[in-house]
Symmetry: C2
DNA sequence: CCTCTTGAACTGACCAGTCAGTACAAATTT
DNA sequence: AAATTTGTACTGACTGGTCAGTTCAAGAGG
C-alpha cells in the first residue's frame, strides 16, 4: 500500500460523500471512515479539508481534460465536436459523483484556481474544436466560441446528472443522439 | 412592515449567502444579520433553517416557472423555444444568486419535493414547447423532449452563471444570440 | 390585546485540526 | 549479522470553537 494508493482511496470516499451532501456538510471523519483510514491520515496527506478538496479538483479536472482531448477525433471539426460530447458523457458515466461536485462547486470563488484550470483545459477542448469549425466555415465565423463552449459543457454536465438520477438504465448512445440532434439543429 | 416583507428580506439575504458559501456553510445568524432582522424572527417565520430553505426554493421556483410560462410566446413552436431561452436568461439576470443555488442544490435528494416542482413546472415549459415543435414537424417527431428540455435548461443556467462571473458587462442579447445559434444548428 | 418582532443568553451536538505515539522498513553503525 | 538510528506513513483520542435551535422577557403597532 503506497501513499498514492491511500490518496486515491481518500479521493474516492471524498467525491462520493461531497456529491451526496455538499462540501461543507461532509466531515473529515466521514471521509476517513468511508475510505477505511484514520482521520489523522487525511490530514497527514492533504494538510487540511480544503487542501484535500483542492487536490481532488486538480486530479479530477486533469482526468477530465485528458478524456476530452483524447475523444476529439474525426475528419471534420463538427464530427470532433460530437465526439467530444460523447467523450464527456462517457467520462461522467464513469466518474458520476464528480459531475455533481463540479456542478455544485464550479463557480465558488474559493476554488478559482481549479476553475481556471477547468476553463483552460476542459472547456478549452470545446473552444478549440469550435474555433476550427468556425475557421473551416462549418459554423458561422463570428460565433462566440467561449460562451458556446461553456454552454455545451454545461448542457452535457446537466444531462449526465439527470441521466444518473432519472434514467440510469438508458443507453448512453440514446442520450448522445438527443444532444447531437439538438446541436445539429432543427429539421426544417 | 408586513410579515410578507420580513419573509422577503430574509429570502434575499439567504439566497445571497447560500449562493456565495453553499447551504450548510451559511449560518442562520449571518442570514438574520444580512436581512437586518433578529435571529428569533427567522425561527418565528420559518421554524428551522431547513424550513427557510424549503420555502425559499418553493417561492423562487414558482417565480421562475411563471417567468418561463409568460415568455413562451411566438407564432411557431421554435420561436417560442427561443423566447423561453431569452426568458430564462432574463430571469437569472434579475435573480442571479438563485441560479447558483439552483445549480448546486438541484439534484440533492434532500429537496426532492422542490426538485419535482422544478421539473414539473419550469422544465415542463421547455418540454411542452418542444412537444409542440415535434407535433408540428419543426423538429424530429421522435426527439426525447424530457432530456432535451433538461439539456437546454442546464445550458442556459450554466451560461447565466458564467456571464455573471466572467462577462457581466456583455449584453444579454448577444448571449441569447449565441445560444439560439447553437440550437438553430450549423450553417451548412 | 393579540400578532409580530427583538436580542440576548443558553445548551448540546458536532467538527476541523492537533499531537503524542505506533509500526515498520531502509540505512547506518558496531 | 546484530544493534541502532532515521524517515515515512499512519493512528485515534482529545481540544477548542462553532452553530442550530430554544427560551424568554420586553417591546412595537395595528
Amino acid at each position: 500500500m503506497s501513499r498514492a494508493d491511500t490518496r486515491m482511496k481518500v479521493f474516492g470516499a471524498a467525491v462520493a460523500l461531497i456529491a451526496e451532501q455538499g462540501y461543507s456538510a461532509t466531515t473529515v471523519d466521514a471521509i476517513a471512515e468511508r475510505a477505511g483510514v484514520a482521520k489523522g491520515t487525511v490530514f497527514y496527506n492533504f494538510g487540511s479539508k480544503e487542501g484535500l478538496f483542492g487536490a481532488l479538483l486538480e486530479h479530477s479536472i486533469g482526468k477530465l481534460a485528458e478524456a476530452l482531448s483524447e475523444a476529439a477525433v474525426g475528419s471534420t471539426a463538427l464530427e470532433r465536436l460530437d465526439a467530444v460530447v460523447l467523450g464527456q458523457l462517457r467520462f461522467f458515466e464513469q466518474y458520476g459523483p464528480f459531475a455533481r461536485v463540479l456542478l455544485a462547486e464550479m463557480w465558488r470563488t474559493a476554488w478559482q484556481e481549479a476553475v481556471a484550470q477547468l476553463r483552460a483545459r476542459a472547456l478549452g477542448v470545446y473552444a478549440e474544436v469550435l474555433r476550427q469549425a468556425a475557421d473551416s466555415g462549418e459554423v458561422r465565423a463570428d460565433l462566440d466560441v467561449e460562451t458556446a463552449a461553456t454552454a455545451i459543457f454545461g448542457m452535457v454536465l446537466t444531462v449526465s446528472i439527470e441521466r444518473r438520477v432519472m434514467h440510469p438504465e438508458r443507453l448512453l448512445e440514446e442520450t448522445h443522439a438527443t444532444l447531437v440532434e439538438l446541436l445539429h439543429g432543427r429539421v426544417r
